[in-house]
């Protein structure tokens, strides 16, 4: 990719001074200063919870600041809503897209506008949107309904929405979190051409690599405060930025001792399953995972990962094929059958599937062992034994809470995930199914989760790690399987995996080199 050299106009597009925004119990922004020059990409870097999104939500008018002032184009502004912000030429693309899934691209673009007055001549607006998309390299069919689009395309619709409204300042909140590597490169190309056109971009991220690639300047935040303000990217180093972001040197390398794999634990043969909407979600998946091995499943969201995990844990029926754990069929059985075969599940949705938020920590911890001694005797639950069991796990896994009677919904993301892992590991898993186990967690919690998963590998359990974070997979997995549209389209040894090749296959691209022994054929045992 060729980076055009853009000399930024020194005139400021945005200036924020002394922004304070409090939430019950937290000061999310504590006297933050931030400025954005016209025609630059300014990265806002920080960990989860550092206050980046809050700051930009304040700028966008979604939150009112408790103190501080904001100037846009040199004029002081006080936005009451995102509508005011967009009227001033400022548009934000959130991490969770604000799109109406049942409506078309054009309809989504038109929502909230004063034009057309009443009757919508949809054909005319389709043409306008198509023309705008073509001009900025945001290829998307204006007539398609949002639910039919990939996440990358949906993101383009969000950007189109802002451009159609004449946004000259674009705020992107972790835009690459949902993208495959190639899609991220496409986005960077689009951003570059927009910036060359005089648009200014705020790029929120916690990934150092991409910040170094796309940003002109960077502002770093930690715990609601700015730790580095508007440094030109050329004057930074990755290690330096990481220190500013985390507040200490990062111990990045995870200890991974080689381990001899044991017998096959999980074997899937030709498994097919349907999605909730009755469309094919898994189309003939065959794979094996051995004891003491972590198989990473890489893919862009929505390519069958959720359904794969559900089939393994008895939560979804498969229409064809077989799933065996230690030789026992668990496919098309109940979750109880899977649990009896010591299949552990760390689900994607921690509050909906992984825990019962209104029950206590103790109740959540015994959810898999309540049927057995010592927790229960016959049909009665021994509350004393429950408390001892829960307290033991709370200490072992350092779940920070006043007591095991605390309601689970009061736990932070990291503590909740520790609770789920504690419960699952206590069930002595032979197969561990972990889905997005670190999404949304802070660095400390991520390290804990990774360590626990590696401990399980060491203890001889087979692990299937489904993640959209390729770095995480490469750091933990022994082998990497790539899933695309319900099929496994590549299988690599993690040690010599080619990231570009994996990324290409994640997006449905074909192998760019001749197939080697050990590639795709190994999918089918």
């Amino acid at each position: 990719m060729t980076l055009e050299l853009v000399i930024p106009d020194p005139r400021l597009a945005v200036e924020m001074r002394g922004i304070v925004r409090r939430f019950p119990g937290v000061v999310a922004n504590d006297g933050v200063d931030f400025d954005l020059r016209v025609g630059e990409v300014h990265a806002l870097l920080g960990e989860n919870g550092a206050g980046k999104s809050t700051l930009m939500n304040v700028l966008d008018g979604l939150y009112r600041p408790d103190a501080g002032e904001i100037m846009v184009g040199g004029q002081p502004v006080e936005f009451r809503s995102p509508r005011d912000a967009i009227a001033a030429g400022l548009g934000m693309v959130h991490q969770h897209f604000a799109l109406v899934p049942t409506q078309t691209v054009t309809e989504n673009v038109l929502i909230g506008l004063d034009r057309p007055r009443f009757r919508i001549d949809i054909g005319r607006y389709d043409d306008e949107v198509a023309e705008l998309a073509a001009r900025h390299g945001l290829g998307v069919d204006p007539r398609a309904r949002i639910w039919q689009l990939s996440v990358g395309e949906q993101q383009r619709v969000e950007i189109l929405k802002m451009l159609y409204r004449g946004a000259r300042i674009l705020i992107l909140d972790e835009p690459t979190a949902v993208l495959a590597p190639q899609e991220a490169q496409d986005l960077f190309r689009t951003l570059r051409s927009m910036v060359a056109d005089g648009t200014s971009v705020v790029f929120i991220s916690h990934k150092l690599g991409e910040v170094a690639q796309i940003a002109d300047r960077v502002t770093v935040m930690r715990r609601g405060k700015v730790t580095a303000s508007g440094i030109p990217i050329s004057e930074t180093t990755t290690a330096g930025l990481a220190r500013l972001m985390i507040g200490r040197d990062v111990v990045e390398t995870i200890e991974r001792t080689p381990f001899d794999t044991g017998p096959v634990v999980l074997s899937m043969r030709d498994v097919e399953a349907e999605s909730d909407r009755g469309l094919p979600a898994l189309r003939g998946i065959s794979l094996e995972v051995r004891a003491g091995e972590i198989l990473g499943v890489a893919g862009v969201a929505g390519n069958g990962q959720s359904e794969l995990a559900q089939v393994l844990t008895g939560l979804r029926h498969c229409s064809r094929g077989s799933v065996t754990v230690n030789g026992v069929e668990v496919g098309n059985r109940t979750p109880r059958d899977a649990i009896n075969e010591h299949v552990a599940h760390v689900p994607e949705d921690r509050t909906g599937v992984g825990s019962a938020p209104n029950l206590s920590i103790a109740d959540n911890l015994i959810m898999k062992s309540y049927r057995e001694a010592p927790v229960s005797r016959h049909w009665s639950i021994d509350t004393g034994a429950v408390r001892r069991f829960a307290n033991r796990l709370r200490e072992t896994y350092s779940i920070a809470a006043p007591s095991v009677e605390t309601e689970t919904r009061l736990l932070s993301g990291g503590n909740l995930q520790r609770l789920i892992l504690a419960r699952e590991i206590a069930s002595e898993p032979r197969l561990m199914v972990a889905v997005q186990p670190t999404r949304g967690l802070d660095v400390g919690a991520i390290v804990t989760v990774h360590r626990l998963l590696l401990d399980q590998r060491q203890a001889g359990s087979a692990t299937i790690l489904i993640s959209e974070d390729l770095d995480e997979i490469l750091a933990l997995a022994d082998r990497v399987a790539v899933i695309y549209e319900g099929r496994l389209v590549g299988l690599f040894d993690a040690a010599d995996a080619d990231v570009a090749e994996i990324g290409l296959r994640m997006t449905g691209g074909m192998a760019s080199r001749p197939p080697e022994p050990g590639d795709a054929p190994r999918i089918v045992p």
């Binding site: 939430f23 979604l62 939150y63 809503s81 995102p82 509508r83 967009i86 959130h94 969770h96 897209f97 604000a98 799109l99 109406v100 899934p101 049942t102 409506q103 309809e107 989504n108 038109l110 929502i111 909230g112 506008l113 057309p116 007055r117 009443f118 009757r119 919508i120 949809i122 309904r145 639910w147 929405k161 909730d276 909407r277 009755g278 469309l279």
Partner: protein, 322 residues
């Protein structure tokens, strides 16, 4: 057992269900479920009839009955949108309130004699069209014709206009709509009240046109609930709701007429011979609606039509997280 009479009667009494269902579609498309349709219809029916009795003016009754339904809906809007209370509970309470209120207001009305009804019309020309003319355009109440106009207008409003785009957005994804400057609260208020106006109109249609008179709760007799079922059956589509309303009413009429003759297709009519069997006939429409619901739901999921995604969920702006 004349098919033309049965179908014409179906279109006439189906108009009541049609108005109520269209109103509920507007409210639910905006994301607010209102189970108070029965109550709002009763209020509309009693106010319309009472006004017509007192003033001798059926048109005035129609207007006031419609407004009364809307007024009751305002209560539902305040409770569920401003105070974010559970929509199902509030709707049920509305039905109880509407029913009770209608009983009190209508206390002396059952003794009222005949009143001036809304006129019936035969459309010259159209009435002569074979097959459909005698069913749709002959001797029908003026409100039946209003129904013919309301359906395409409502469809056009929802699917082809800017306000309709906003209505759908508010019911499917209020967060998205709010971010783009659509006033979610105001729109939901408006469409809940529109739903109430339509329910009031439906009630007035009963007492002023289709089956005149005041018979307490029996005036509406569960048609509000049928209308809600028709909305689901129609998968929130106006055209399908109209068809469902007419078909349901026609089947009801058929099942009454079927009890009349001594002979049916050359055999002794079992319903004429044994009156107990007619109770089973009474169940048929309801069993039918359940069967159709089951049949259409699978297809609806595949085609992504169906309940608005935010139906029944109060919208709270600016909550941290998502």
């Amino acid at each position: 057992m004349d098919p033309t009479i049965i179908l014409a009667a179906g279109v006439a009494s189906g108009t009541v269900l049609l108005f109520a269902a269209v109103g509920e579609i507007f409210a639910e498309r905006a994301g607010v479920i209102n189970l108070g349709v029965e109550g709002m219809m009763l209020i509309g029916a009693v106010v319309a009839f009472g006004t017509a009795v007192a003033t001798g003016n059926a048109w005035l009754g129609l207007v006031l009955g419609t407004l009364a339904g809307g007024l009751l809906a305002v209560l539902h809007a305040v409770i569920t949108i401003s105070f974010q209370a559970e929509q199902v509970v509030s709707g049920l309470a509305l039905t109880f309130l509407g029913t009770g209120l209608a009983r009190v207001l209508g206390e002396d009305l059952s003794k009222a004699g005949a009143i001036a009804l809304l006129p019936t019309l035969t459309i010259p020309g159209l009435a002569a069209v074979p097959a459909i003319g005698p069913i749709l355009f002959t001797d029908q109440s003026v409100l039946v014709y209003v129904g013919y106009i309301v359906v395409p207008m409502a469809w056009y409003w929802i699917n082809r206009t800017r306000p309709g785009l906003h209505l759908r957005a508010v019911g499917e994804s209020p967060t998205a709509a709010d971010t783009l400057g659509v006033d979610v609260y105001r729109l939901r208020y408006a469409y809940v009240v529109v739903g109430g106006l339509f329910a009031g109109l439906a009630g007035a249609t009963i007492t002023l046109a289709i089956s005149p008179g005041w018979f307490g709760d029996l005036t509406v007799n569960g048609q509000g609930w049928i209308a809600i079922a028709i909305v689901i059956f129609a998968q929130w589509g106006v055209g399908r709701a109209a068809l469902g309303a007419y078909a349901f009413a026609a089947i009801q009429r058929l099942l009454i007429d079927i009890q009349g003759p001594e002979q049916l297709f050359g055999f002794p009519n079992p319903f004429y011979v044994n009156h107990t069997l007619t109770f089973f006939l009474g169940m048929v429409p309801y069993v039918l609606i359940i069967a159709v619901l089951v049949a259409v739901s699978g297809e609806a999921i595949r085609k992504r039509i169906g309940a608005p995604a935010a139906l029944g969920i109060s919208y709270v702006r600016g909550e941290r997280g998502h």
